[in-house]
């Protein structure tokens, strides 16, 4: 399933604010997305998932700043480059054509005063100026059909569509330029469960057909286990564990991942008790020392409070395919 890397996030740091007042919302994040892969990103709300997604596309509004790192994009046609080094024009060209995003607040993602068709075709106008108006329209129609919306809704305004339909429009819009990477930030939280699964099922099917990669963000780990290839878990702005979806589900190494898994009922297989995680997410302004999870961790022990655990491959049998940042699983250094 997975091929070469398409997007590599290296040591990414994102702050809100400058200087002393800066809040470090994403710290030293390293992640690699491979061609054709669905990478899930999970974590409690406030753990920095959205900040990471917006940071790597440089869409964060002030006071957000990227305080370090690289986002290496391997373009199939234009070589390899650092997205963080692009100028405004380069960034505009990169956006949507290479990486499209479906936003968390999909309900408000559509401009209320323009027709759906206008909002679908203006992307084409910006990125493929040579395309005729007729062709643009045909393309937009085709995208709507792809996501299961009747073509006669082209002339509808956003307020005339239901939440699920708006969500589909956004997914269709994200795919209109056939990007290599689609980032979905809690794309379905506002929808009911049936609708969620239906839309996600469609998306995965489309992915198989069109061959793009997906970064899928949610606080609902159950969705990820079902729909993604690999899962990264975020806590307090850091990635604390990354593993193939099945491995993570069967055998999570980080106590926080275990806690997250315990927060929702098992989909299949044996029932387990719903435990949740006691305590509340850390305050970014006063991060705990050492492992930032240690005040809530059921397995906290000696080194945890003072030393930050490093994300790296653990010494488990499947260690080469996963990483974890926990003193219970010291990193094997090659």
């Amino acid at each position: 399933m997975t091929g070469d890397p398409i997007l590599e996030i290296k040591n990414l740091n994102v702050d809100y604010g400058l200087g002393d007042q800066a809040v470090h919302a994403v710290r030293d994040v390293n992640l690699t997305l491979h061609r054709g892969e669905v990478l899930g990103l999970a974590g409690e709300s406030g753990s920095g998932k959205s900040t990471l997604a917006y940071g790597l596309t440089r869409l964060l509004a002030p006071p957000g700043v990227i305080s370090g790192g690289e986002v290496i994009y391997h373009s199939p046609d234009h070589g390899t480059y650092d997205v963080l080094g692009l100028d405004d024009k380069g960034l505009r060209d990169f956006r949507w054509a290479e990486t499209a995003i479906v936003f968390q607040g999909a309900m408000n993602s559509l401009n209320p005063v323009h027709k759906i068709s206008t909002q679908l075709t203006d992307v084409l106008e910006a990125h493929e100026p040579k395309m005729s108006a007729h062709a643009r329209n045909a393309r937009a129609r085709e995208m709507l059909k792809l996501v299961g919306i009747a073509a006669d809704r082209m002339d509808a305004y956003p307020h005339q569509l239901s939440g699920g339909m708006r969500q589909r429009v956004m997914i269709g819009m994200a795919l209109i330029l056939q990007p290599q990477v689609v980032i979905m930030d809690e794309p379905t939280t506002a929808l009911d469960v049936v609708m969620q699964r239906q839309i996600l099922g469609q998306l995965i099917e489309l992915r198989e057909r069109l061959g793009f990669s997906v970064i899928f963000i949610t606080h609902d780990l159950s969705l990820l286990v079902e729909f993604s290839d690999r899962i990264a878990i975020m806590y307090g702005g850091r990635i604390v564990e990354e593993a193939p979806a099945g491995a993570l589900y069967k055998d999570s190494l980080h106590p926080y991942s275990a806690g997250l898994l315990g927060s929702f009922p098992a989909l299949r297989g044996p029932r387990r008790e719903l435990t949740g995680i006691p305590g509340s997410p850390p305050d970014l302004k006063g991060m705990p020392t050492g492992c930032s999870f240690h005040p809530r961790c059921p397995k906290v022990f000696d080194p945890c409070a003072d030393n930050i655990p490093v994300l790296g491959p653990p010494s488990t049998p499947d260690g080469s395919t996963r990483t974890v940042a926990c003193w219970l699983h010291p990193v094997v250094t090659a």
């Binding site: 070469d4 890397p5 590599e8 290296k10 040591n11 740091n13 702050d15 400058l18 030293d28 390293n30 690699t32 917006y54 940071g55 440089r58 869409l59 964060l60 509004a61 002030p62 006071p63 957000g64 700043v65 990227i66 305080s67 370090g68 790192g69 690289e70 290496i72 391997h74 070589g79 390899t80 480059y81 650092d82 963080l84 080094g85 692009l86 100028d87 405004d88 380069g90 960034l91 050492g290 003072d306 030393n307 930050i308 655990p309 490093v310 994300l311 790296g312 491959p313 080469s320 990483t323 990193v331 250094t333 090659a334």
Partner: protein, 361 residues
Amino acid sequence: MTIPTSSVEQVIPGQGAMAQPDPARPAKAKRQRFRFIANKKAFTGVVVLGLYILFAIIGPWVAPYDPDARSEDLVQPPSGAHWLGTTHLGQDVLSQILDGTRTVMVVGLAAGAMATILSVLIGVTAGYLGGGWDDSLSALSNVFLVIPALPLIIIVTAAAPSGGAVLVALIIGFTSWAWNARVLRAQTLSLRRRDYIEASRANGEKTWRIILFEILPNLTAIIASGFVGTVIFAVTSEITLAFIGIGADSGWNWGTILFWAQSQQALAQGAWWWFVPAGLAIAFLGTALSLINFGIDEFVSPRLRSAGKTKVKTASGRTVRMRVGFTPVLSNSSAPHTHAKPIPAVTTAAATPVLKKEGSQ
């Protein structure tokens, strides 16, 4: 007249969600109330307003002359004896301005207070009670809003038997509450839907207690901003009335000075000292009040703040303005940057990072 421009006042029903104060406010409000003064604009405004209030109190006493007293020095430019010159009757302009400050401030503040009380009563009632109350009170405010205020004030004051400052204040107050009532209604409506208010209601808390202790404290900033805005309007209206000769018999105010300056050909005589100081007095008072309101606005919706560092140095060494849609990449980044340089394909294993922080083995 002043166009109400406060963003707080831009809350239009149906779009109210955009300008609502932070839901986390109730808890924080107290602590932040003091920080409002720390706002540079608000501070300047408060200081200047304080000066005006001071002169409203001591003005008539410190005035060098009796503002009505005539002298031989007709239409004299500013001099040591008459700092701001004299009128066609040889009256001292400075004394007239100082004497007029009291009337202006009293009418402005009284009208502002009256309009504010009316707007709170009507706006909060409409927003909280809803239903038929809301419909009729909203219609009432809208009627008062679209009927042009100044012409209405003019015909009412002209019809009233020779008024005096109090009557002018009453009339202005009675005709200028509508805008604030509208804003307050919208805010109350959104507050009422908040969980903690719903909870109080479910607990059978008395309506007046909820309004007094849960709703009103959260409306403080808006009420204050409405009050300040109405004072601006009242001062301008009052001076305008005096300028066209209504209420001119009720003592000096800056409008009366302008009335005489205009009718006695101050312009044609080049007697700038006759009308410039009064106008500046109005302008500075108005600016001070507007500054206070900007302060309140920025306090309620921090987004509007233009202060603070907006320029940052980027990785490429240029200085850019922080703006929506193009997050800056800071120059002090820890990792070396390889700008758009082709990079050899990296394997997953090689990409596995090792943190450089204190915890790494």
